[in-house]
Symmetry: C2
Subunit: 403 residues, 2 copies
């Protein structure tokens, strides 16, 4: 397998570090809008299979397709922010490559009724092209990070092995990470976090379909495992709600993120002032996107690993009827301790946890354990080999009976 | 009197509209960094005494001094943001003109102990040049808006006519203004509001001198008159605390601003993210000041008047021993109803209330009722003619016995 890795930020660099320990990649060619960053990421791995193709504009599908051809890559691994999903998705289709991403094409709110009805949903633009991928016999494996990604694998596992019928698939994400020396330092891309949290959250209910709510709705305190403890979680827009109902029967699908009160207050304030906007404003004759300015004011989360401490938890809370016919609830989860990921890989917990999952998925595709064509989410595949291989990577998952 | 008005934003435009109703200005020459805005402000007045000198850089003292000479102006009226105090102050001294401003030279926090000790204080740079103004026989009337300005006039009035000794001079500013159609729309310059509110607040105590606290300290609910009602106020950095002790004896001087919880939360969030910073950040190759981006995201407060409703109150709470020897407390205040200021002048309440006071002061200087040389605050002059003339302008002040 020859992989074109587009994006050498936090997640892209962690992807490279993890993939370098596996034998399945024949080549990983790293590119980024910042050519120096791409070269640094390839060099940091210290493995001749990893090279750099320098700078590329991820929004230029033709340029990316040309790189696929030039480097004879059969996989395009998308590790840039979700603004660039569609050009990269098109580049892979045009270039005859398998496509993998960790976030899906962006939503647009309902024009009249944004906090009740969906408009263009996450991934709609990608699924609209599913026929072309099927016709070409090519696979686009979408939403294959940790959330979406591992959470979707958990949904498949719960449906196949734990439940006879599912009332709710509730993704619950929480952490107790702290960053020393900073008053405020998000542990993940602020651009993506704003996108997820300020868009109207989407919920799925059987019989009702997809609907939206105001941001930060349905607050709930969820008790996270392995010492993280209770964190207030709220609904946010996330791919799992759109992906899971396509392949798994459930009465309800939700995604709640343990943002914490302080973070929610900051996001609300940014929204009030209009600093979450992506369309440019004119500042003394210069055009800038306010959301890019917010990102520029904050430290790069990928570089904070050595100041971070604590654990991050991704997981799926499933309620319903167990295979024995009685009521059951479980929480399927994956915890990464920052101290471990920094020591083992030199990458902070959140980006490492995001990056390990597409490496596992690509290994399953490379060895033929997973195969398919069209536009497929992680829950379209058998969960067991994925969870076994993830454990073999040294990063086991867990299950808490009782939710 | 021939006035060079530097700044044709909200306050500058309101200044022009108010001054146009008085006979004392022989000429008002309007200039701004935006020449079109200067021309529009002069033309909007509809009075041949008001003309425009087009565009000028308020940071270029030589260019401003040249305009004073070219237009034979004997007064420089500073109506731009406080970053430009020092070049305009120097331009007026060089150009032989009387100088008037509504905010003073900026502070810099104490390098080691910012939330306990003062560093460079508001106005320090101006007062350091007082000898030059005295030697030239020229007057710089500093802090002559509403706060500082009218609040300082109230302090002089209280000391001369209401109290035999003063325990505390406590400026208290509050409003019940609302802006229809906006989630969040400050009624005054956000640049200045951030500067006032996020700098360490300064407090004066006799015997102890000036000291600072963390932002938003000593919250207190103050009951504002004329239907505004109770508003939570917190300490902010403001010129009155530095000006009043120079001319009025008091045990303590404070400034508390009725920001409201929502506004305080937004300011805290901007600070957490670093968006209050004025030094530029690099955003995709472009340099911008984050605080300028915040301002660019928000509507121009000067243009919100027709969507605003409610009243704004500036005032001074004085406690101590009355002239009869018994304990006394009073609140001396000035309320402007937005509906009135829009109907009468076409300018919203907050900018109108700021702008009326320097017009009154200039009329007193023009007629010789007030006179002096050096760098003087409003409390250096007799308060009675000021308060009488303000009332004659149709905008009376009030006094509430009992505080």
């Amino acid at each position: 397998m020859r992989i074109l890795l587009v994006g050498a930020g936090g997640v892209g660099s962690a992807f490279a570090a993890i993939a370098a320990r596996r034998s399945f990649p024949e080549a990983v060619v790293v590119t980024d809008y910042d050519g120096d960053r791409a070269r640094a990421t390839a060099e940091a791995v210290g493995d001749a299979r990893f090279t750099s193709a320098g700078s590329v504009d991820a929004g230029d599908a033709d340029a990316v397709a040309a790189l696929l051809a030039e480097h004879r890559c059969d996989v395009l691994m998308n590790a840039v922010d979700p603004r660039f999903v569609m050009p990269l998705f098109r580049a892979a289709l045009a270039g005859g490559a398998t496509y993998v991403d960790m976030a899906m094409s962006l939503s647009r709110p309902h024009p009249e009724n944004p906090y009740a009805e969906t408009g263009v949903k996450l991934g709609d633009e990608q699924f609209a092209m599913a026929g072309e991928w099927e016709a070409a016999g090519q696979l686009a494996l979408v939403g294959m990070g940790v959330e979406p990604g591992l959470s979707d694998v958990f949904a498949r596992y719960a449906a196949d092995h734990l439940f006879s019928s599912i009332d709710e698939l509730g993704v619950r994400d929480g952490a107790n990470l702290e960053v020393a020396g900073y008053d405020f330092a998000p542990s993940f891309s602020i651009w993506t976090t704003i996108e997820e949290c300020l868009n109207p959250p989407v919920v799925y209910e059987a019989g009702r379909g997809f609907f939206t709510t105001p941001p930060f709705s349905e607050p709930e305190v969820f008790d996270f495992p392995e010492g993280i403890g209770p964190v207030e979680c709220v609904n946010v827009e996330h791919e799992e709600v759109l992906l899971m109902p396509r392949w798994v029967d459930a009465g309800r699908v939700t995604f709640k993120y343990g943002l914490g009160t302080e973070f929610i207050d900051v996001l609300k304030a940014l929204h009030k002032v209009g600093l979450d906007r992506t369309d440019p404003v004119t500042v003394k004759g210069v055009q800038v996107s306010p959301r890019d300015v917010v990102a520029a004011c904050l430290p790069d989360p990928a570089r904070l690993g050595d100041r971070m401490s604590g654990k991050t938890c991704a997981g799926l809370w499933v309620t319903g009827t167990g295979t024995d016919g009685g009521p059951r609830q479980v929480y399927l989860y994956h915890v990464v301790d920052n101290e471990w990921s920094m020591r083992e890989y030199g990458h902070q917990a959140v980006v490492w946890q995001t990056a390990v999952n597409p490496v596992v998925a690509l290994e399953l595709l490379a060895e033929g354990t997973w195969s398919g064509s069209g536009v497929l989410g992680p829950e379209a595949f058998d969960a067991v080999p994925f969870l076994e291989l993830l454990t073999a990577y040294g990063s086991p998952w867990g299950m808490r009976e009782g939710g």
